[in-house]
């Protein structure tokens, strides 16, 4: 199976690889997937004033599409408010990266990672966690 140019670009030059301080109350961390399934994504956001995401970092264990999906997600997250970030849909990632049907689960995982990072941030700051849709699974 051939990868799209955008997947290859993100794979070869991943954006925002790294680690934020998970103990900071301004940082939300989402860790999704499982090693047994061959995909684990860790996505972190740092939230500044007015709920704006000032930084985003990721590390991913997985195939090229999983790495590209999380790299793209961090790019999209920076500068967005939390409410805007919650509107990112996995199909936006599928479309942007031209993922084939067998790789759609990589984009689902990235969406889950975003929501999970936001929830971690919310809970840390005394807000209720948002109930995550499970309809993708």
């Amino acid at each position: 199976m051939a990868y799209s140019e955008k997947v290859i670009d993100h794979y070869n030059n991943p954006r925002n690889v790294g680690t934020l301080n998970k103990d900071s109350k301004f940082v939300g961390t989402g860790l999704v997937g499982a090693p047994e399934c061959g995909d684990v994504m860790r996505l972190q956001i740092e939230v500044g004033e007015d709920n704006v995401i000032t930084d985003a970092k990721f590390k991913t264990f997985g195939c090229g599409s999983a790495i590209a999906s999380s790299s793209l997600a961090t790019e999209w997250l920076k500068g967005k408010t939390i409410d805007e970030a919650l509107t990112i849909d996995n199909m936006d990632i599928v479309e942007e990266l031209a993922l084939p049907p067998v790789k759609i689960h990589c984009s689902v995982l990235a969406e889950d990672a975003i929501k999970s990072a936001i929830n971690d941030y919310r809970v840390k700051n005394g807000l209720e966690a948002i109930v995550l849709e499970k309809s993708h699974h």
């Binding site: 860790l31 590390k59 067998v102």
Partner: protein
């Protein structure tokens, strides 16, 4: 150096130019049907087939009449197992095989289970070899066939074929082996090994795709299989269909070359393989899969923990290799062969198979080592699991959200 470097010789091998040369006349001037008995065109084609039969027989130590040409190893596996089951069903319905077999064996056995066969799938030890005591214990008076592969396609381990055939024979069962990866690579002799039926194919030994053979013993005991393809009664009635003369000639030539060059080639390839393997297994958290003593000379299967195989292959686009990972939505299951060794799913997902071949050079192996090291290090930088491992976090204690 040609890019990408081909290190997937367990999937298929390139055709040796000497094989192609032998085949070419049989596409054009020697185009006859080997079954045409009444004119020179047929005789010439038949001569080519007869000579190939001798070349094949010589490689595996049998007589020409014991070779049934097929379209490949999958067909030979089907013919051997289904053919024995149908021929000997009066005697019993029990077949013994192993969980690490190729799908051509496993799925054929599953098919027969629907038709009244009882099949025992032996597990393997963590080195990939079957337990002979377990085989002995599984034998029953109803056992008609034991089918255990010679060398494994994913990890290269060589089963103790002589001991297995002795156990099968002691209990009155036939012994069949799928020797697709072994014939032409290591000495295989149907008499010293006690083999009654054996499947193999040309394209794993520098011959063409689309042609293979089933060896069927004719003496001590005389083995018969029920044909699975009906028609003109070719191949002594066991496999009808016009013979693929150029393919058969190619298989014959490929067998001859393997017979003449096997000994030196095995030494050369195991030397290169050992260089690759010993260098890469020095990397932190890398593991060689399968028994390293009883093994084909040209295969190495290594897991690089905390990186995912498919992602790794993408980082190594200069190398053509295989991975035990299958990261698709249809099947998130990694290799069943690696899992049967007791490897955890994450290690199975992290595995790469390197298959060396006749045209692999030392320069290519050096390049493969460098590319692999660079890719593994790059992906570990991206891997949250590697970071957690480095921080001393026990990954097995984390509650992963399965998806």
């Amino acid at each position: 150096m040609k890019q990408p470097i081909y290190l997937d010789n367990n999937a298929t091998t390139p055709l040796d130019p000497r094989v192609l040369e032998a085949m070419l006349p049989y596409f054009t001037e020697k185009f006859g049907n080997a079954a045409s008995r009444n004119h020179a065109f047929g005789w010439v084609a038949e001569e080519g087939v007869d000579y190939a039969r001798e070349q094949v027989a010589k490689l595996i130590g049998c007589t020409e009449k014991e070779i049934i040409f097929t379209s490949g190893a999958t067909e030979a596996d089907n013919l051997g197992i289904k053919g024995v089951f149908e021929m000997y069903k009066e005697k019993g319905n029990h077949i013994i095989t192993a969980v690490t077999e190729h799908k051509a064996i496993l799925d054929t056995c599953k098919h027969l289970e629907k038709n009244g066969a009882r099949v025992t799938y032996l597990g393997v030890k963590e080195d990939g070899l079957i337990d002979l005591a377990e085989l002995e214990a599984a034998m029953t008076p109803e056992t008609i066939l034991v089918s255990i592969m010679y060398g494994n396609n994913e990890i290269g381990v060589i089963q103790p074929v002589k001991e297995i055939s002795a156990i099968a024979h002691k209990h009155g069962a036939l012994f069949m082996t799928d020797a697709t990866q072994a014939v032409g690579k290591i000495p295989v002799d149907v008499n010293t090994d006690g083999i009654d039926l054996m499947a193999f194919t040309a394209h794993k030994m520098y011959g063409p795709k689309g042609v293979g053979a089933l060896y069927v013993r004719r003496k001590n005991p005389r083995v018969k299989v029920t044909s699975q393809m009906d028609g003109g009664g070719h191949e002594r009635g066991m496999r009808s269909g016009t013979l693929n003369v150029p393919g058969i000639v190619g298989l014959g030539k490929a067998c001859e070359l393997c017979r003449l060059e096997m000994e030196s080639e095995a030494i050369r390839l195991s030397g290169l393989r050992d260089k690759l393997e010993s260098t890469l297994s020095k990397m932190e958290e890398s593991y060689v899969n399968g028994n390293t003593q009883h093994r084909l000379p040209h295969v190495a299967n290594i897991s690089f923990k905390y990186v995912e195989g498919e992602g790794l292959m993408m980082a190594m686009s200069d190398l053509a290799v295989s991975s035990g990972s299958a990261c698709t939505s249809a099947s998130l299951e990694p290799s069943y062969v690696l899992k049967s060794l007791g490897l955890s799913d994450d290690l199975a997902h992290s595995s790469i198979r390197y298959g060396l071949g006749r045209f692999t050079t030392e320069e290519e192996i050096d390049q493969a080592i460098a590319v692999t090291e660079k890719a593994v290090n790059h992906l570990r930088e991206l891997s949250p699991l590697w970071e957690m491992f480095k921080e001393g976090i026990d990954l097995s204690k984390i509650e992963w959200a399965e998806h």
